[in-house]
Amino acid sequence: MSGETVKRFNVLWLQAGACGGCTMAFLDHGRRGVFAELDAFGIDLLWHPSLSEATGDEVVAILDGIAEGRIPLDALVVEGTVLTAPNGTGRFQMLAGTGASLLDWIRRLAARARHTVAVGSCAAFGGIPVASPDPGEGVGLQFEGIERGGALGAGHRGAGGLPVVAVAGCAPHPGWIVETLIALASGELGAGDLDPLGRPKFFADHLAHHGCSRNEFYEFKASAETASDRGCLMEHLGCKATQAVGDCNQRRWNGSGSCTDGGYACIACTSPEFERARGFLATPKIAGIPVGLPLDMPKAWFMALAALSKSATPKRVRLNALKDHVVVPPGRAKRWGAEGGEG
């Protein structure tokens, strides 16, 4: 952005029924640190509950200023489930010092914000706190699970014209959060850049499976059976990466990782209602066949290909799938040439 005059873009960040994990991820972004990265794009945190100096009545003055239209707000960011219990009052989460619920504050402030951004699957769709029995009667900002509605209602549009932008994930990748804010600040994020659930397509048009380091095990249906095995996690250990959106395995998490690289199942945390699962770490099956098959894959073809690939599994892949380290290395060819392989 050097040489340009950067138009400032102010952000108010609120934590509803949150665990704080989205903020923790947000803080993990940027080679020079997230504050420097935001500043480079003209993004100012007007107030953030974990980071700002302002506290107590200083904060209430900022919130009142926005709600009364005296302080313009470019983006309201909400992290966490919006709790409506009991009976729609929102008293399960009161904003300290104000006598009002987060539910009330979010509605008042979103009405003034140019954009509203749900950071994390809780604010987007409800998330883990709405898992049965949903004690807090939680909702997302514009969805309750897959149903439109939520705290702001299906029809909500910011002054900027967008529905709630849903940076789904539990927690989302730091890049998803900050890149969304940069795209909003630069005026580049349009309605066409969001999927039907409001998720930015730059991460939501991919599957978590894409780029998985276990791909050879997947191809041959060489499956892990117990925790720490190197094989594919789909058949037995609950992995939903072939059904869940996210460029999770095309990026790295915390330097080098990802869920599947870390040895455990994708639980589809970018999806509404992922929290409804029971037995997250075991694959539900009917007659030995996984219930959830890869998206867009005809079931008969999947079954046929799986049977074929299982019968063709190399010994190396079959044995390595059941160990936490390589026990059979790839074969070594004699010489690079027409047949390939190393010399």
Binding site: Q15, A18, T226, D261
Partner: protein, 483 residues
């Protein structure tokens, strides 16, 4: 007498409300409100045991590894599983990375910015401290964030990602490290060590870990360089040694099990700061009392408690219960761990101050960083590629298990009962539940409530900087406190 309401109270990982009764510009009584309830204990009921590994860490994105480990530890106790030795080391490595990131985030992002407030504009150090520690703008945060990011790369190696990893199991961890992975982990710690020795301590970590007396701390303060020395001088100038005295009894469940022979790196137990004596930990002495909570029920042990909201309960003012140990409100956290473990400088400092204080809570956290990072380096050396990282747990269908671990902020306990392979009871007592507990049925205040009594408001009412220091010295995690 006047009633002052303080909130929203930020930089406390969640939200917090204080109600202070003041007389002659001094707090005479404090009530601490945890204003958020999500109902995790209710959500866990009826689920398969392994689902606790998905649900429980999402109580808290700040100490999610701790929540995972308490759940895994309860499950290990229930099933009689011993973690694979490699897995115990990688577990400790990831847990230590989280704890150090928490300690450092607390110091640089949550606690120190209060000294850059306008309250202190007249102090000779105001300009220098303001430039270094102003929230989000100071040089310290700019230098710290890339170090934090680098430290958390341990999670990419060991646990896939952070927060909310599923790598932590009763039997160890799900991702094996090979020789390359060990080298990468060492390189991460080398970078973090270099940064800490340059900016935080301006000294080798060992020189900080090995301090033995309160006078050693005075010498560091006098000598000059580094943010640690800067804090020690602020503590002396503002007399943070007398601010926010703790309740006298501190507790630790023991930290980093299986890393020092068969025991933990830091010992478990109770320590009485008024007598200087240590006592063994008896988990059966732990009771939770909802007398002033928006929760139904009576006082009792966590293993027998059930959680149901009762928002109209008379005399209730917090979503947190009041945990008590043998009837006492006890303080937990780094200062408790170092006192129980017998670190000589921390014991001497607390003895000199007369109680735990704003100063000793912060000093203990920083000394702990200097003790833990060198231990992490040795753990990496003891990892043996090729040996298992995770043993397979065989779970009975009925029984119970307790997981008691030390999170960055202190003792975290999960009490689980299982019938027919399903969770029938699940109770969580988090570190800040102890520190920020409301009054119990006998009217006895929690540690923060007591620590605030006597605090001078300096004519600033709800804006008094002293209130900010006392509250944040505990490094509260409000999202854990009620859950």
């Amino acid at each position: 007498m006047s009633r002052i309401v303080v909130g929203p109270f930020n930089r406390v990982e969640g939200d917090l409300e204080l109600k202070l009764d003041a007389e002659d510009d001094r707090v005479v009584a404090a009530r601490v409100t945890t204003p958020l309830y999500r109902g995790f204990e209710q959500i866990l009921i009826g689920r398969p045991i392994a689902d606790a590994l998905v649900i429980a860490p999402r109580i808290c994105g700040i100490c999610s590894v701790s929540q995972s480990l308490a759940a895994a530890s309860a499950s290990a106790a229930f099933s009689g599983t011993t973690p694979a030795p490699n897995g115990a080391l990688t577990t400790a490595l990831a847990h230590a990375a989280e704890n150090l990131a928490d300690h450092l985030s607390h110091f640089y992002l949550f606690f120190m910015p209060d000294f850059a407030r306008a309250d202190y504009a007249g102090r000779p150090w105001a300009g220098e401290i303001g430039a270094r520690f102003t929230a989000m703008k100071g040089t310290a945060a700019a230098e710290f964030l890339p170090v934090r990011t680098r430290l958390l790369e341990i999670m990419g190696l060991v646990a896939g990602k952070w927060p909310h990893s599923l790598a932590f199991r009763a039997g160890g961890t799900t991702r094996a490290l090979d020789l390359g992975g060990k080298a990468r982990a060492r390189a991460i710690l080398a970078d973090v060590r270099a940064a800490l020795e340059r900016t935080l301590f301006a000294a080798p970590l060992e020189a900080i870990a090995e301090i033995a007396s309160a006078e050693d701390l005075d010498r560091i303060a006098a000598r000059g360089d580094g943010d640690f020395a800067e804090f020690l001088r602020l503590a002396d100038d503002l007399d943070l040694h007398r601010l926010g005295p703790g309740p006298g009894m501190v507790m630790s469940y023991g930290a980093y099990p299986g890393t020092a022979g068969s025991g933990p790196l830091f010992a478990a137990g109770l320590f009485d700061t008024t007598t200087g004596t240590r006592a063994p930990l008896v988990p059966g002495h732990i009771v939770e009392d909802p007398a002033h909570s928006w929760l139904a029920g009576e006082a009792g042990p966590p293993a027998r408690a059930e959680t149901q909201p009762d928002i109209d309960r008379a005399d209730a003012y917090s979503w947190a219960r009041a945990p008590r140990y043998d009837g006492h409100a006890v303080e937990v956290g780094a200062v408790a761990r170092q006192l129980v473990d017998g670190h000589p400088a921390i014991r001497a400092l607390v003895a000199r101050d007369g109680a735990t204080s704003v100063a000793s809570r912060v000093v203990a956290r920083l000394v702990e960083i200097a003790r833990v990072l060198p231990a992490m380096e040795t753990w990496i050396g003891r990892i043996t590629p090729g040996d298992p990282f995770c043993t397979v747990a065989t779970e009975p269908s009925d029984g119970s298990g307790v997981g008691l671990i030390e999170a960055a902020r202190g003792g975290l306990g999960h009490w689980m009962t299982v019938r027919g392979g399903r969770i029938t009871r699940y109770q969580i007592v988090a570190p800040t539940t102890w520190n920020f507990s409301p009054r119990d049925g006998g009217g006895n205040p929690g540690p923060l409530e007591r620590a605030l009594e006597g605090t001078t408001l300096a004519g600033r009412g709800a804006r008094a900087a002293a209130i900010q220091h006392v509250v944040r010295s505990f490094d509260p995690c409000m999202v854990c406190t009620a859950h």
